[in-house]
Subunit: 341 residues, 2 copies
DNA sequence: GAAAGTGCCGAAAAGGCTTTCTGCGAACCG
DNA sequence: CGGTTCGCAGAAAGCCTTTTCGGCACTTTC
């Protein structure tokens, strides 16, 4: 009554073993387990049972070698610690997991040499495709057109327009932020953002200015560039309040900046949101929910970005390549810092 | 003068092609490229050149099939988005990368079924070993002893003492936090921490109390358990200040809690660090550096944890398994919230 | 000058699986 | 009842590489 083969999981159960136990040839065993036609139901059952008894699991290496398709993809990131890679990676893993594809993770740490090396390693392991995740929205060098597998660039687009890149629509994000503020009745809006060398800060500002113009408004003061930190948010807000005490909303380039801004507002005796509305970008939950009141923010939908990238990669692997830059839209998550209550 | 074989990277350059171009047999080509003896220098050169010309890269699948060793490991995490997995993962990737090992990443999202499935998938891809990263310090179920490859548990130990687990010494972390506070002259120390169901909060508190006893001190009030949030930090600190205005230091269970505590202190007119010292755990840079003043915190050395886990896995793969729980020590990172700047 | 040794190269097997193709008995058709 | 299908199983080739072993042409040794 007890399991006769307890050591089954020990090592190396091969199709041969299954076939022998079932009393058939390896060819038949293979066909039986893979649902091929050409095998009698009774025989199939015997093989399946033998496989279970031995807890057989086919060697994917051998299978891949033959099929010239491994069911693996490479995920090449450049800032594993970063805010962006992880959700994207999760989305991708999510999309892949459904189809039982495994992902090889590599972090090039921003080093081109390392990156080359990793690509080489991945190719020698015969991945079916590659997703390259950047750490900034600025375009990055292409891996080249001569690669034997499809590549999708996520977050940071490739410089080569022939490549396919999936990015976030930062201009649109800026627009929708302003739209939201205006819809809550704000008209004297200022903008404090981060590092001016980042494409993200420029594009968000561009979108915000465009939306203001559409509404017949203009920004209070200039766009304040600085760094992506709380302390910059505090400093900039203090300055701004001195120069433009009439403002009724501050759009911040990131949630961290927004946290600093809210700190400064409180110290200047301004209340949020009644007196001044505040909102950020990124919807980084640990910052938005810790704020008082909770921070309205533009969610960049990174997980979806990862999923879309994975889907596009699948399509390309299946012979339907695309190229160009595909920008995904964002969504405003409304919380207490822009609407009372 | 130009490269004669531009399409080299296209598809499927095999050792056969190299051998043919070099005018030797595949056996000789293999030996030549792998630095085996038994091949004349001149012949070797010819092969190497042929390989370069075709930009040949050996099929690792075939190689692994033969060697019964893939040079890949599986990294099974349970909260990819979490604070812990990523640095551990980076440390592991770091340690592996040096020896050109590739890592398969899987996120089971805390689901046991999913986990089983991923383990199965990884085994069928013939990983050489597994690292299992937990999301909490509490012990987790073992994957079992019957696996055909070594397993190392990181952060969350396995329930089975026969397994090898690498964890953080949270008790020691609690001790060293108190030691630091005492060394700066604090004697009336309170402790606000997070979710009481987490082993981490219990162990850190335990270490803190032990260290206080060693110094002949006792805690101001009781340990305040709550949640790992800023708002809990604020609320608990306010209560605490009402009941024990004499306190001169608050040890916080996490950096987030500490941020909330500092907020509350400021609102109650207490200055940090002169009046009250504050410190946290985790040394999460985005929180510690944004605080005013910057927050002293206990760094859990997660990257090192990842590296050690990877090293232990290597050792086990090479036939030197260990078992039991290995606790790594932590370090206090001193900033302005405990010592005047 | 024959026997033994050396240096290099290639044939072949192995690793685990899938697939094609062949073969064989049974069922069908006329 | 002879011949054709049909259903099912097995033999064998192939995927790409490494490694063992045998063989060939030399050189060395008495």
């Amino acid at each position: 009554m007890n399991n006769a083969v307890p050591s089954s999981a020990s090592r190396k159960v091969t199709l041969n073993d299954v076939a022998r136990l079932a009393g058939v040839s390896v060819a038949t065993a293979s066909k039986a387990l893979n649902g091929r036609k050409q095998v009698r139901a009774e025989t199939r059952a015997r093989v399946v049972e033998a496989a279970e008894q031995l807890s057989f699991s086919p060697n994917e290496l051998a299978r891949s070698l033959l099929a010239d398709r491994t069911g693996t993809v490479g995920l090449l990131t450049n800032d594993l610690e970063g805010r962006f890679s992880i959700p994207i990676l999760m989305g991708a893993e999510d999309a892949f997991g459904a189809d039982s594809v495994a992902v090889f993770l590599c972090d090039a740490r921003g080093d081109a040499i390392r990156e080359k090396h990793h690509v080489q390693a991945l190719l020698s392991r015969r991945v079916d495709g590659l997703i390259v995740v950047g750490s900034r929205t600025d375009p990055r060098p292409s891996l080249g057109r001569e690669l034997p597998v499809p590549v999708v660039y996520a977050y940071a687009p490739s410089e080569d327009p022939e490549d396919l890149s999936i990015v976030v629509d930062n201009v649109g994000a800026g627009r929708s932020a302003v739209d939201h503020l205006v819809s809550t009745g704000r008209t004297r809006i200022a903008h404090i953002t981060g590092d001016p060398t980042y494409g993200a800060s420029q594009e968000r500002a561009e979108g915000a200015l465009a939306a203001l113009a559409d509404h017949g408004l203009s920004l209070v003061g200039e766009v304040r560039f600085g760094s992506w930190t709380e302390s910059w948010g505090r400093a900039a807000a203090s300055m701004l309040l001195g120069q433009h005490p009439e403002l009724d909303a501050i759009l911040c380039g990131s949630d961290q900046v927004a946290r600093g801004v809210m700190d400064a507002l409180r110290e200047h005796g301004r209340t949020v949101p009644d007196d001044v509305a505040v909102m950020g970008f990124d919807n980084w939950e640990i910052f938005t929910s810790g704020a008082r009141p909770a921070l309205t923010s533009v969610d960049m939908n990174f997980e979806r970005l990862g999923r879309v990238a994975a889907q596009r990669l699948f399509a390309a692997i299946d012979g339907e390549p695309r190229s160009g830059v595909e920008a995904l839209d964002t969504r405003v998550v409304i919380r207490g810092s822009t609407v009372p209550g």
